[in-house]
Symmetry: C2
Subunit: 211 residues, 2 copies
DNA sequence: TTTGATTTATTAACACTGTTAATTATATTT
DNA sequence: AAATATAATTAACAGTGTTAATAAATCAAA
């Protein structure tokens, strides 16, 4: 069978094969629904084989979270061409938000769930490379803004945390369905889909006033 | 036995008894660890008895989430005595944050998890009374600030969403351990416990500039 | 008071979950 | 070819939420 041939072929990088299968199921049904047994069935292996390549499910979640950062990082890196620092910061916010909406499951793994960080905390490194890299990108964006006259009186690191918090709060509330439940049946004029966009624009307007 | 006597005594409001047991376990071990079976064991009933009083685990989560809003609402209502609107808003933020830190499990149930909202979405009401009430409190606080000269150019509802997002983002990132992982090993000077406080103060400073 | 109906609680079971120990099959090396 | 090391599997443990069928307790009517 062609399936078995491909199986033999990829037997060496089974770890990657497992991850691909996990990714596929995860993007279709979410993290909770992606069980070890289903991943194993997907690649036609026994469930316990997974444990020869990944310590536990948390380690798989960590690998998936890294995949998510690859996507986000790639999408953010494009924005470095934007010269104007505030426009760049604005675009970063837009991309971050769009990523959260389009890849909700990834976002959850990257910024909401504890499991992936648990793996990091075990592995002695104890430092979150992906997260810190993303944060440095935001920080440098904000420092560039400061050089252009924005947020002069603010400590850049702390201010970056505020900005990140706002964006994360917005995305998290939207993803988990809490935003809709508060604005629904009130603002009948604007459809629910654009509440997020509108709130983001207000945040930008707010930042714009802080020069 | 005294236990059995009390059992008989409370048999009519078994629903409340179940909730109390759930609350107790939940506050000790968190939501995931609080299984139907453990709740049943706590009150010395069969696991299936729970289902005579609650449709499913999500419905219990919803009841617990309501308990959380009772605590938060009570803590926030005290602040209404503060005359100065901006000071009141600031205090609201402080209380919200302290609640999130002290009652992390409740906070998760109220603003992060989907399960409690799921129950609402089923129950035809389709409107989140607790959440909307809390939001109205924030909204009125911000409107009071506007009358005092703050945030004049902003739409109060949308601006409230921004403020809520920032506070939620901050609390959520802290609760899930993402905040520490970004600032750790960088700012060695300030201990990790006060990063949150410091970021909050910067946010307040930011709001203060928007008059 | 005893029978019958109704409510309440229980047992047993289903279909899952992550994870581990013991065992078999497959490669690799001597 | 035999011995060793690696890889994969089966069986099992200890849980999970949830449902159907059964038993116990309560209450109403004869």
């Amino acid at each position: 069978m062609g399936i078995q041939e491909r199986k033999r072929k990829h037997k060496e990088d089974l770890k990657q094969l497992i991850l691909d299968a996990a990714k596929k199921l995860f993007m279709k049904d979410g993290y909770e629904a992606t069980s070890i047994r289903k991943i194993a069935a997907e690649i036609e292996f026994s469930p316990t084989t997974i444990y020869l390549y990944y310590k536990d499910k948390a380690e798989i979640s960590h690998a998936l979270h890294q995949e998510g950062f690859k996507i986000l990082g790639q999408q953010l890196s494009i924005l470095l061409v934007i010269e104007d620092p505030f426009e760049r910061l604005k675009a970063m916010g837009k991309v971050y938000m769009q990523f959260a909406l389009e890849h909700g499951d990834f976002y959850e793994l990257m910024f909401i769930m504890k499991d992936p960080l648990q793996t990091i905390h075990d592995c002695a490194d104890n430092h979150w490379e992906e997260g810190q890299q993303a944060f440095r990108l935001l920080l440098s964006g904000i420092q560039a803004c400061q050089e252009a006259g924005y947020f002069r009186s603010m400590d850049p690191e702390t201010f970056s945390l505020v900005v990140w918090s706002t964006m994360h709060g917005l995305c998290a509330l939207q993803l988990k369905g809490h935003l809709d439940m508060v604005v629904a049946h009130k603002n009948i004029l604007q459809d629910v889909d654009n509440v997020l966009q509108h709130t983001f624009e207000t945040f930008i307007k707010m930042l714009e006033k802080l020069r």
